[in-house]
């Protein structure tokens, strides 16, 4: 079970959180302008890297806030945690964005 540092509450057990999947997928500003493939890419397609991955997590059984986690999908090391709207730590090795 992961130990996740919530940026608002500190370290808490994974069971208090909900994972929202890949981070930094922006909703297209004008969906009507997209063709089927482009829209499907936004709705359905996600990266599934073996390595560092940026994800959204929500402290659903705590403060209720969403935030971003950069996690290594093999070792489960949590490399970085940052709030919504904050710039992710600059690192070219991330596979998930």
């Amino acid at each position: 079970m992961l130990l996740i540092p919530c940026p608002w509450c500190g370290h808490r057990d994974e069971s208090e959180f909900t994972c929202g999947g890949e981070a930094h997928i922006q909703r297209p500003p004008d969906p009507a302008a997209l063709d089927d493939a482009e829209w499907a890419d936004y709705v359905f397609m996600r990266t599934n890297p073996k390595g560092r991955h940026r994800e959204r997590w929500c402290h659903s059984h705590g403060c209720g806030r969403w935030f971003n986690v950069e996690r290594h999908t093999v070792t489960h090391d949590i490399v970085a945690v940052y709030r919504m709207g904050e710039t992710p730590p600059d690192d070219g090795d991330v596979d998930g964005s």
Binding site: M1, L2, L3, D13, T18, G20, Q26, R27, D30, P31, A32, L34, D36, W39, A40, Y42, V43, F44, R56, C58, S60, G64, R65, W66, T75, H76, M84, G85
Partner: protein, 988 residues
């Protein structure tokens, strides 16, 4: 009672002043306090303790610990009974009762043993090969095979014992309290760290407990001194009888503490039987030791064949002689120490048979000096005896392990074997650490850790106590120093002779004792192409028993490697998974059972429903009245009465459970426009509107009515089951995608009690309850809401309807819920108000053709499928809108909502039934849809159903066929609005 003929007159860590009587297979026996069931049985000369899983062969006690594959017993009877416990791990208590598993009628005369005679008919993979015919036949055979294969019996009644769960945090968790673990805990404790030391035994000491005092390599009293010091330190917690069974991510570990198992039924009631520890550790020190391996030779499974180290434990710790005349067979030095200690305590050692051609070293010379016969370059190639070993056949072997000389028979009642030691690296592997193969030790050792974990002692291959303690101290302190290389260990490593290949395919040489996997099974599997260890394991069941192959796995791998002509590391090892030791369901469940298993949510009117005899339905965690049967009524009669009351008079329903979300902020309208499919700009204060929510995939997520309370304030309702999910969904969008919107959400579901008053008499009933709300249709139209006093209570009244009748939903602060409910029932309008439950509501809405979330929708249904184009705004974007334009969403092959009328009006179709366009003609059938809702409609005096059917309303008036278990129903596709399709009654 017997006199414990195999108990030594002195020595051992048992309390001779406290004899303990117990029963095994109905026989009354005596042991001493401090015994395990296994040691007490051996003291009484009982070696035949069980039958093997597949062949029902007689089996004895192989080990003295957690690795035991054979000696499985059913402990106690009745509801406290536990199946398949290892006799080597059960501490003896007064009155203990145990029976053998896997045998009938008794362990001595087991009818299942005929399988052993016919063993050639049941090779590896037998079940997979044989019981697959006819198709689906496995389900038939499985019951018989399970009964035959036995193992213990799970109790059927409720477990009377209490179990607990504990959460703990520490700086250093030390697993294993042998010399390495004790040294680690001592060093970390002195350093001021918060330490937990967990060990599966009743007291610290580990292997020291099994050694003769002069052999331990520690100063006298070291173990008890360290134990006392640890117990005196406030920052150290010693958990004995606690097995760490799982090592998960971020140094989270699970341990099972057997708090009162050793006390039996006399345990004090204030204590739980077991306690599951959930430990988060800063650092972990694994000092889990090593497990001795058996040697693989023909008939190596007879009672009386035992691991050499186990015999040492029985002699030294329990003062029990496991036999009178022993043959020792080994491929390493450690068995020599066992042989010497047994010799000193009076066991005749017939010979020490050593696979190695030129054994040398201190232990070997010691044995020779003591006059023991050493047979280098020899192996045990077969054994004799039925319920107890009576002789060992010994022969010279060549460098490849093949027999190279005549066999010589040595009479004995005990064969001690040592095939080397496997580090107990299970937890290290579970933690994600990599193992490396050490050729000289023929063992997988911990290599690269993935988490903050250090290994110390025999788990690293260290063989003497001093080295173990040194490693422990280092690991406990800072965890930075590298473990001493295993090759630096002063004990000469074993030679590679794990498996001597004699008469392969003839007599059976067992590798996995519990699952009856032989060397021949492994070579057969390899020949059949199961060359990967993971495939081999599943095909032969090697290592899949309750012991998880703690003794047999590495010999099995060596045999596979030998068959394939590869090296052991090339073959690799199977993945170690939790749990290291079986954990009871009781401990996992802890206190989360019965009423505590899941919270129960009750509305403020629950007590009334209960008193009225309501049958309840679980909707999420809520208890909702399903229907209110009157005396003599069944479900159908009650639901018919309730639904007719709503159609003809007036009914009342508790709808408190519907989710309520308060939406505040200056961008609330914009927010609603984005999450609902319809437009919200024009909704005036005092009005409400039905809304439909989609996921971004265009599928229906939820629906409900939202009221405009005041400028910048809305009250949204959701379905009961989706309330939390919808709130989370809305929060997600607000926080992550639209942080610029000035909108705030709050759940107010439990703040209000709500009841729906529905039926042609609803207005007249309400008139009698209000004085400051004008309920005239013109003043209070459909889809409006008003505030005022109802029965003198502050209320909001919403004129909305899910039944198709005139209806009002009245919300009051939750504390007034019961008062309002009883006031409505007692009003004197001339109408009798009938309480109705969720099932009548389901019928009423189905009569109107209203789809229900979770009934007509299942995450694959769009508003177009439901015929709800009318609710899709064309003037704005909303979540999921673009998906509705995807070509697949518009395809004619999609299922769409229709009504169904059965040809026989009395026949109610089961929900979920498949719909065919033509009468069934045998599989494969063409299925065009399925029934989503189906009821008896008392109003229409016939059955009605809703269905999702390819082509939808284009098939109206067509006859379809619904095959059921007994015959096929014919039905006609129709308009789903069965009743009042124009909606006149709604406005009445």
């Amino acid at each position: 009672m017997t006199s414990q003929p195999f108990r030594l007159p002195d020595g051992g860590a048992i309390d001779r002043a406290r004899p303990v009587s117990f029963s095994f297979n109905g026989e009354l026996l005596t042991g001493f306090s401090g015994d395990t069931l296994a040691s007490a049985l051996l003291a009484n000369g009982v070696h035949l303790v069980g039958r093997s899983f597949k062949y029902h062969r007689p089996r004895g006690i192989l080990s003295a610990g957690t690795e035991e594959p054979n000696a499985l017993v059913q402990l106690e009877s009745g509801n406290r009974s536990v199946p398949n416990l290892k006799a080597t791990r059960i501490e003896l208590y007064e009155g203990l009762t145990a029976t053998s598993v896997n045998c009938w009628p008794s362990v001595r005369f087991d009818a299942g043993a005929v399988i052993d005679v016919a063993h050639r008919l049941v090779p590896a993979g037998f079940y997979y090969k044989t019981f697959m015919w006819p198709h689906g036949g496995w389900h038939f055979y499985e019951r018989a095979i399970r009964r035959m294969a036995g193992m213990g019996r799970a109790p059927t009644g409720r477990d009377p014992d209490r179990y607990e769960r504990m959460n703990a945090h520490c700086d250093v968790l030390v697993v294993g309290a042998g010399p390495a673990g004790m040294a680690a805990a001592q060093a970390a404790g002195r350093d001021g760290a918060r330490v937990i030391l967990a060990d599966e035994r009743s007291q610290p000491g580990g292997s020291l407990l099994n050694m003769a005092a002069n052999e331990s390599g520690t100063e006298p009293g070291w173990s008890s001194g360290v134990t006392a010091e640890l117990e005196s330190m406030k920052n150290v917690r010693v958990l004995s009888r606690t097995t760490v069974t799982g090592y998960f991510d971020h140094n989270f570990l699970i341990a099972l503490e057997q708090v009162t198992d050793h006390l039996g039924p006399d345990a004090p009631a204030r204590l739980p039987r077991q306690r599951l520890w959930r430990i988060r550790a800063g650092r972990v020190v694994l000092a889990t030791g090593a497990l001795e391996r058996p040697l693989v030779f023909a008939n190596n499974d007879r009672p009386g064949v035992m691991l050499a180290g186990a015999a040492r434990a029985y002699v030294n710790r329990f003062a029990v002689l496991p036999g009178r005349r022993a043959v020792v067979v080994t491929n390493n030095d450690s068995a020599y120490e066992a042989a010497l200690e047994l010799h000193v305590r009076g066991v005749a050692v017939a010979a020490i048979v050593d696979h190695r051609g030129r054994p040398d070293g201190r232990a070997v010379r010691g044995a020779e000096e003591a006059g023991l016969e050493v047979m280098p370059g020899h192996a045990v190639v077969d054994t004799n005896g039925r319920r107890r070993v009576r002789a060992a056949a010994v022969a010279r072997i060549d460098g490849d392990g093949a027999i190279a000389g005549p066999t010589r028979t040595l009479a004995c009642d005990l064969i001690l074997m040592s095939g080397g030691w496997s580090p107990a690296a299970h937890l290290f592997s579970q933690s994600g650490g990599r193992l490396r193969y050490h050729a000289a030790l023929e063992a997988f050792l911990p290599d690269h850790p993935r988490q903050s974990v250090r290994c110390a002692g025999a788990i690293n291959g260290a063989a003497d106590t001093t080295a173990c303690m040194r490693e422990g101290r280092s690991a406990g302190l800072d965890g930075s120093a590298a473990p001493e290389a295993a090759s630096a260990s002063p004990t000469p490593p074993a030679q590679r002779q794990v498996f001597a290949r004699h008469r392969a395919g003839e007599a059976r040489a067992f590798v996995d004792f519990q699952n009856d996997v032989t060397a021949a099974d492994i070579t057969l599997a390899a020949r059949e192409g199961y060359e990967s260890v993971e495939h081999l394991k599943r095909y032969t069941t090697l290592g899949m028993g309750t012991d998880q192959g703690k003794t047999g796995n590495v010999p099995g791998l060596a045999i596979l490697a030998g068959t394939l002509g590869e090296a052991v590391p090339a073959v690799g090892t199977t993945t170690f998974r939790p749990p290291y030791e079986p954990v009871t369901f009781g401990a996992i469940a802890g206190r989360d059972i019965g009423a505590l298993a899941d919270p129960v949510r009750r509305t403020p009117m629950h007590a009334w429903h209960e008193a009225a005899g309501a049958v309840f339905e679980d909707v999420g965690q809520w208890k909702r009245p399903f229907y209110y049967p009157q005396p003599g009524e069944n479900k159908r009669a009650a639901v018919a009465r309730e639904s007719l009351a709503v159609r003809n008079a007036v009914g009342i329903m508790d709808v408190t459970t519907l989710g309520k979300i308060l939406i505040c902020g200056s961008d609330s309208v914009e927010f609603l426009n984005r999450v609902y499919t319809n437009a919200w700009d024009s909704l005036a204060v005092g009005r409400c509107r039905y809304g439909l929510m989609l996921g971004e995939d265009g599928m229906v997520l939820d629906d409900g009515v939202t009221a405009h309370l005041s400028p910048n304030q809305f009250l949204m309702t959701t379905t009961t089951g989706n309330a939390a999910r919808v709130l989370a969904w809305l929060e997600d969008w607000l926080q992550t995608e639209w942080p610029d919107l000035n909108v705030y959400l709050a759940s107010v579901t439990e703040q209000f009690a709500t009841m729906a008053l529905a039926g042609p008499g609803a207005r007249q009933v309400l008139v009698g309850l209000v004085d400051d709300i004008d309920v005239a249709p013109a003043a209070f139209p459909f889809m409006a809401w008003r505030t005022g006093r109802v029965a003198g209570l502050p209320a909001r009244v919403f004129r909305i309807s899910y039944s198709g009748e005139v209806a009002y939903e009245i919300s009051v602060p939750a504390r007034h819920g019961m008062d309002l409910w009883t006031a409505v029932l007692q009003q004197r309008s001339g109408y009798e108000v009938t309480p109705f439950g969720t099932e009548a509501m389901h019928v009423l809405r189905a009569e109107k053709g209203y789809p229900m979330i979770g009934q007509e929708t299942d995450g694959t249904v769009t508003p177009l499928d439901l015929g709800m184009q009318w609710i899709l705004s064309s003037k704005k974007d909303f979540l999921g809108r673009r998906s509705l334009r995807r070509s697949a969403m518009l395809a004619s092959s999609r299922k769409r909502l229709v009504g169904l009328k059965t040809e026989d009006p009395e026949a109610v179709v089961p929900e979920g039934a498949q719909i065919l366009p033509t009468p069934p003609s045998g599989p494969p059938e063409t299925m065009i849809g399925h029934v989503t809702s189906s009821y008896w409609s008392a109003t229409l005096r016939r059955s009605i159903a809703l269905a999702l059917v390819i082509g939808g309303r284009d098939r109206e008036f067509h006859t379809v066929h619904i095959p059921l278990d007994h015959g096929t129903l014919r039905a006609e596709i129709c308009d789903p609005r069965f009743y009042d399709p124009e909606g006149i009654r709604l406005h009445g």
